[in-house]
């Protein structure tokens, strides 16, 4: 119980810091929304009164501390302000975009986890052989490639040369229904998901491989081998234990994946939160940035909290407070 209180308390503090930074950071950036909404030829031509009227319209004429109080009240009530750029409630915008980002990051995380862990365990089982070395080099290359670069390569090969996948948006341009629509959505998700999985693919592999290697050195493996279990059975036992660090890493990495989504969604014109953030940063649309970052901060903090709380369930050593990783 004290552990639970301590952990939840820590995360509450992190969330509080996120709330404050979330308000402060966009405002520290130079430029404002009026500069953006009107091209230079017009924003230069605005009189001071016209400019003031625009600011008032967006609630940006208030002193900073009043804006902060309104912001916190809004968070508590669950209604964020109006977006200056889109002229719509931030809540609607964020809720509209969130499912696409969940689809992308969720699929990419699963893909990275499956492929990374699968290959990592395979490498560990055949540690030191040429296939291990070549797989490891491959994943290290993958790990060091920035996702936007991967995305452009994938577009070049699979869209321009082979013509297999579209590159624009999440839904077909032409109205469709039912199965055809679902197929189109799936086709459009393939390249972004694969690109995004490169965010963590290498890391997954590089954690899964040593995890299994160290398990294979444990006494219980020796015992299993001694009592005549087949290699396949031995591997299954060891793999189950090696999954522990990998699964924790998956939840911990969620923030990185969401960050990568900003870039990937921009490349593929994918209408998720990442694209919304990219557009809003350019527009200095504080209300949207606050709302979107708040949702992301909550998601990531909660994912980490869940990872922390689930750990004892996976690892009895933590539960009993003896030895182990902690």
């Amino acid at each position: 119980m004290p552990r639970l209180v301590r952990v939840v308390g820590q995360y509450a503090l992190v969330l509080l810091a996120a709330v404050v930074l979330n308000f402060a950071l966009p405002r520290l950036a130079p430029g404002d929304v009026v500069d953006y909404l009107l091209p230079p030829a017009e924003s230069g031509a605005l009189t001071d009164e016209e400019r003031a009227a625009l600011f008032e319209g967006y609630g940006l004429d208030q002193p900073t501390h009043v804006q902060f109080v309104e912001y916190v009240q809004g968070l508590v009530r669950g209604d964020f302000l109006m977006s200056a750029r889109y002229g719509r409630p931030v809540r609607d915008l964020v809720l509209e975009r969130l499912p696409w980002t969940v689809l992308l990051t969720g699929s990419a995380t699963l893909l990275a986890l499956t492929v990374g862990a699968f290959a990592g365990f395979r490498s560990a089982w055949r540690r030191g052989r040429s296939s291990d070395v070549s797989t490891m080099s491959g994943f290290m290359v993958a790990d060091s490639m920035p996702p936007f670069f991967v995305a452009l390569l994938l577009i070049l090969v699979f869209s321009v040369h082979l013509g297999w996948f579209p590159v624009v948006g999440a839904v077909p341009v032409v109205p469709m229904e039912g199965l055809a629509f679902a197929v189109e959505v799936a086709r459009r998700a393939v390249l972004p998901v694969v690109s995004l999985s490169f965010m963590t693919l290498g890391t997954m592999y590089l954690v899964a491989r040593p995890a299994l290697i160290s398990e294979l050195r444990e006494d219980y493996v020796l015992l299993a081998e001694a009592k005549g279990l087949s290699p396949r059975q031995v591997r299954r036992h060891a793999q189950r234990n090696a999954l522990l660090p990998v699964s924790t890493l998956t939840l911990m990495n969620l923030g990185t994946v969401v960050g990568g989504a900003t870039v990937i969604e921009t490349v593929f014109s994918y209408p998720g939160l990442g694209l919304l953030i990219y557009e809003s940063v350019q527009a200095r649309d504080y209300p949207v940035l606050q709302g979107a970052f708040f949702i992301l901060a909550v998601t990531v903090v909660v994912a980490n909290l869940v990872a922390d709380l689930l750990y004892p369930l996976f690892d009895p050593r933590v539960r009993r407070g003896v030895g182990g990783l902690r």
């Binding site: 130079p30 404002d32 017009e42 230069g44 052989r129 396949r232 694209l275 350019q282």
Partner: protein, 603 residues
């Protein structure tokens, strides 16, 4: 077990992809009326009204003008043609214009468009000046009110003479429906509703940052538009956008073709590249309110030291023309026929010496009182052409001993830093509005502009010249005054025009072939969809013949170009595919070999 499962999954995915590819829509090929055209834009413009547009789409005014109409059209013509108006007659001193409207025009919702709507549009956009087009009735000329004479006649009054009313504001200010906008108190909050216009297209669907869908207004007074449905998806990333055009995922692209891509796209058999004209110029602005850039002699020396021919060659790869000190685009009907941008670094150095900016011990020039001159050149880091330009300009000015530091920043930071004066030089671009508007100098360098947005140049003599031109009714006299403004500009050099780029846009003719180069407009010009204006088969046949004739006349050049393109392709295209193929082969081989080994071990 697991590998079988994985294989099944892979097969399923492959199957889905194949089905998807089969289901992918084929481009429509109707010779007469086209069912659907997909033209990608760059960004979200809200609901395409004067209060919503953000200029993020890259389509300038084209999208709002697909949905809305103006009294005359177009703003970039020397003589605009009557559009919603049938005619407009001035009183003696050109302060009152009586507009006769076309009869039988309806709004998209079926209501009649009347003189009341016109009077309302002028009143509303005057009273709520945050609209994009308001400054043409609040600043110059200043609107003074309207009187509706009958259902189709309205009198518009101005504070000063408006000799070119059909051009500005009549070809500029969108006419809005009173029955919709009359109830809207806060126009900036109304950017989320589908708009009601009278234009050739009705906006029927919009998804922020995703797409717009417009449907043809079959009752349009200029004839039913040639494309029934216009889908405008938003594609933010430039390379993704051109990839989508190459694969046929989209039919046209509003984004300008970057200089390095022009040759590649011209080689693409299914893609046409159209040379358009939006009278664009890129210029170097000076901070005119602080030393040493406030000194005209200093600015003139900078102008002489910039090698504009070299900029065209190296930055635009030859696709453009060097800038002239007279500033205005040489193709504009307002531009002085003669003009030049001289390059003479020796003369520049001499002039700086004479003006007291001598070279110090460290090789860097100093102010007359001995302070080293350090200049900051701001540039939008999102614009590759301008970033390259800035680097070259900095290098060229270094040759005459000026220390110029390039600072690349995002657009928001740029406008902030610029408006608060934290710069000495900055690079910006202007098009149509600067080069095709008789009052352009007034709007950018005139008395109304008090901030530093365009450098803050302010000269009473120049102001007087511009104010006089604005109210001169006699056109020849006025044009003379506009030419004098250009002479004045070339002498004072509040900004150095660097180059006028040639502009290109690309499309797939199989999907729709009505696109044409409408002067001042982009591919999406509303006239490209109207039967009286759109390019017809005859036009393209003529163009084809002309191209063939040109080819026959210059066989050698063409062969060379083809060779160059071929080697370019090898140099640019091959290594990537090879690299990717190699990586893929190694990966697959690794997995296969690895799998075989384990199997051997396991068994």
């Amino acid at each position: 077990m697991t590998s079988r499962g994985a294989a099944a999954l892979a097969l399923l995915a492959l199957g889905l992809a194949v089905i998807g590819a089969a289901l992918a829509p084929a481009a429509a090929q109707e010779p007469e009326r086209v069912e659907r055209v997909t033209a990608a834009i760059n960004g979200w413009e809200n609901n395409l009204t004067p209060y919503g547009i953000t200029f993020q789409s890259g389509a300038f005014h084209e999208m709002i003008n697909l949905v809305h109409d103006t009294l005359y059209w177009s703003h970039y013509a020397e003589e605009p043609e009557p559009w919603l108006a049938e005619s407009a007659e001035p009183n003696e001193d050109h302060t009152v214009w009586t507009v006769q409207l076309r009869e039988g025009v309806t709004w998209h919702d079926g209501e009649d468009l009347t003189a009341d709507d016109v009077a309302f549009s002028y009143d509303y956009q005057f009273d709520n000046p945050s609209a994009r087009y308001s400054h043409h009735i609040t600043v110059l000329p200043e609107y003074a009110g309207a009187e509706v004479l009958d259902e189709h006649t309205v009198e518009l009054r101005f504070e000063e003479p408006v000799p070119r009313f059909p051009l500005v504001p009549a070809a500029d200010l969108p006419i809005l429906p009173e029955h919709v906008w009359g109830d809207i108190d806060q126009p900036r909050d109304a950017v989320d509703e589908l708009p009601v216009g009278s234009g050739p297209y009705e906006l029927v669907e919009m998804e922020s940052d995703e797409r717009y869908v417009l449907e043809a207004n079959d009752d349009y007074f200029k004839g039913a538009p040639l494309v029934e449905q216009l889908v405008l998806p938003i594609v933010r990333d430039s390379s993704a956008a051109f990839s989508a055009l190459r694969t046929g995922e989209i039919d046209a692209l509003v984004r300008g073709v970057p200089p390095e891509l022009i040759a590649d796209l011209e080689d693409e058999p299914e893609v046409e590249v159209l040379n358009i004209q939006t009278y664009e110029g890129h210029q170097l602005y000076f901070h005119a309110q602080q030393e040493p850039t406030s000194d005209a002699a200093f600015r003139r020396a900078v102008g002489l030291a910039v090698d504009r021919e070299a900029l065209v060659e190296r930055v635009l790869q030859g696709h453009g023309r060097p800038g002239r000190d007279e500033f205005m685009h040489p193709d504009s009907y307002l531009a002085k026929p003669e003009g030049a941008g001289e390059f003479d670094p020796d003369a520049a150095a001499t002039q700086l010496d004479e003006a007291g900016y001598e070279v110090g011990d460290d090789g860097v020039r100093q102010t007359p009182d001995g302070q080293p001159i350090e200049l900051t050149l701001l540039v939008n880091s999102f614009d590759p052409v301008q970033v390259r330009t800035a680097e070259l300009v900095s290098e060229q000015l270094g040759e005459i001993g000026l220390d110029v530091q390039v600072e690349g920043v995002d657009p928001g930071t740029l406008s902030d830093q610029r408006d608060s004066g934290e710069f000495d030089l900055w690079i910006g671009s202007l098009n149509n509005h600067m080069h095709m508007d008789p009052d352009a100098f007034y709007h950018f360098f005139g008395p109304g502009i008090t901030g530093l947005t365009f450098g803050g140049y302010d000269n009473p003599e120049f102001n007087e010249l511009m104010e006089r031109a604005a109210v001169t009714a006699d056109w020849d006299e006025r044009l003379q005054l506009i030419h004098e403004q250009q002479d004045f500009f070339a002498e004072e050099l509040p900004a150095v025009m660097l180059f006028y780029p040639d502009e290109y846009q690309a499309y797939r003719p199989a999907a729709y072939d009505g696109w044409f180069a409408d002067p001042g407009h982009l591919l999406l010009t509303k006239r490209a969809f109207l039967p009286d204006y759109a390019a017809s088969d005859e036009d393209s046949a003529e163009a084809g013949e002309a191209a063939e004739a040109a080819e026959a006349a210059e066989p050698d050049d063409d062969a060379e170009a083809a060779d160059a393109a071929a080697t370019g392709d090898e140099a640019g295209g091959l290594p990537w595919s090879v690299l990717v193929a190699a990586v893929a082969v190694v990966a697959v081989a690794g997995v296969v070999i690895g799998r075989r080994r384990t199997r051997e071990e396991d068994e």
